[in-house]
């Protein structure tokens, strides 16, 4: 290897190149180069796993997670389950530079972003809406529920926890936790 270095998960070539050029030609500091690189994937919706319009949750909404960590100051800025704001890595930079916190989450992270000048906009697209509708039409399979009724392996919710009897009689679904294959994580579905 040799410095400077940019390493990125997957085959996200444009993002890697943009970060590297920001660092070398643009002489950005590393955190700004990091935001530049990650933002390319947020715009290009890399593999459907970054940015708006991908990985809809059970209500069809896309929410975003992002983090930036400075290995010299050990300072961190992060957003989790950010809603209705597209540029998650950039918002994380404001958490890093404009707060003394590490992480802001959910709708209140959205409020913070709006205060920092970001725009509220839907993160749903036709593609993510279609993916969600197909999932609903398929009895909400696969899903992340267990030990609830009705049976999550057969139908959608809303769900309620299984009865106290089931708990008492140890008839809880445990072992399948070790087997995560039915969630079909992979190139197009992951964190």
């Amino acid at each position: 290897g040799g410095l400077p270095l940019v390493v990125t998960t997957w085959r996200f070539l444009n993002a890697t190149l943009r970060a590297y050029q920001s660092l070398t030609v643009g002489e950005f500091d590393p955190i700004d180069a990091l935001v530049e690189g990650c933002s390319v994937c947020e715009r290009e919706q890399c593999d459907g796993t970054v940015g708006y319009g991908g990985s809809p949750d059970e209500t069809g909404e896309t929410t975003l997670d992002a983090m930036l960590m400075d290995g010299t100051t050990m300072d961190v800025g992060a957003v989790a389950a950010l809603r209705e704001v597209k540029h998650a890595a950039a918002v994380a930079k404001y958490v890093l530079r404009n707060t003394r916190h590490t992480m802001l989450a959910g709708s209140q992270a959205t409020d913070f972003a709006l205060q920092m000048g970001f725009r509220r906009e839907t993160l749903q697209t036709d593609a993510s809406r279609t993916m969600w509708e197909q999932w609903k039409a398929n009895h909400c399979q696969p899903n992340f529920w267990r030990n609830v009724i009705p049976s999550p392996s057969m139908s959608c919710g809303p769900y309620e926890p299984v009865s106290a009897n089931a708990v008492r009689n140890n008839r809880l679904e445990e072992s399948s936790e070790a087997d995560r294959t039915d969630f079909r994580f992979g190139r197009y579905n992951h964190d």
Binding site: L5, T9, L23, L34, G37, S55, A178, R180, F183, D191
Partner: protein, 140 residues
């Protein structure tokens, strides 16, 4: 998920992530990406590690932090990554995930599980044009 490590000429190490998470998650669910030590971890005295995959599982093991500690204890990047993947596989043999690790000198490596192979992209000083190369590792 894009997870990225950047080390500049002066050896300033940073790491970061951005993702829209897992499909069909329960609303409010957060993956490993924004959690320091899980989705990414950087220490300019040693290097950095970043992760991608099934975040519900990976975050329980803080693989990025421990991979950096592996570097600190003398492992090379591939060993540091493989050590964390094997820790997770012991409890979740079918989990899907990958870890990329880089030393502060710019050596890099990766490891993975649940896929045939795992690609990661690199641009560094060895190529004066800054061309991006794709490396792939076979999963454990």
């Amino acid at each position: 998920t894009i997870s990225m490590i950047i080390i500049d000429h002066a050896g300033h190490v940073v790491a970061g992530t951005s993702t829209n998470g897992a499909r069909h998650k329960i609303p409010g669910r957060v993956g490993d990406s924004p959690i320091p030590g899980a989705g990414a971890y950087a220490d300019s005295e040693v290097g950095a590690a970043v992760a991608t995959g099934d975040g519900d599982v990976m975050m329980r093991f803080l693989p990025a932090l421990l991979a950096v500690e592996g570097l600190r204890n003398g492992l090379d990047p591939n060993e540091a990554a493989a050590q964390q993947i094997k820790r997770i596989v012991k409890y979740y043999p079918t989990f899907t995930g990958g870890i990329v690790v880089a030393t502060k000198e710019g050596r890099h490596g990766a490891s993975c599980n649940g896929m045939a192979e795992f690609p990661y992209s690199v641009a560094d000083g060895t190529d004066s044009e800054g061309e991006v190369k794709v490396y792939t590792v076979k999963c454990v």
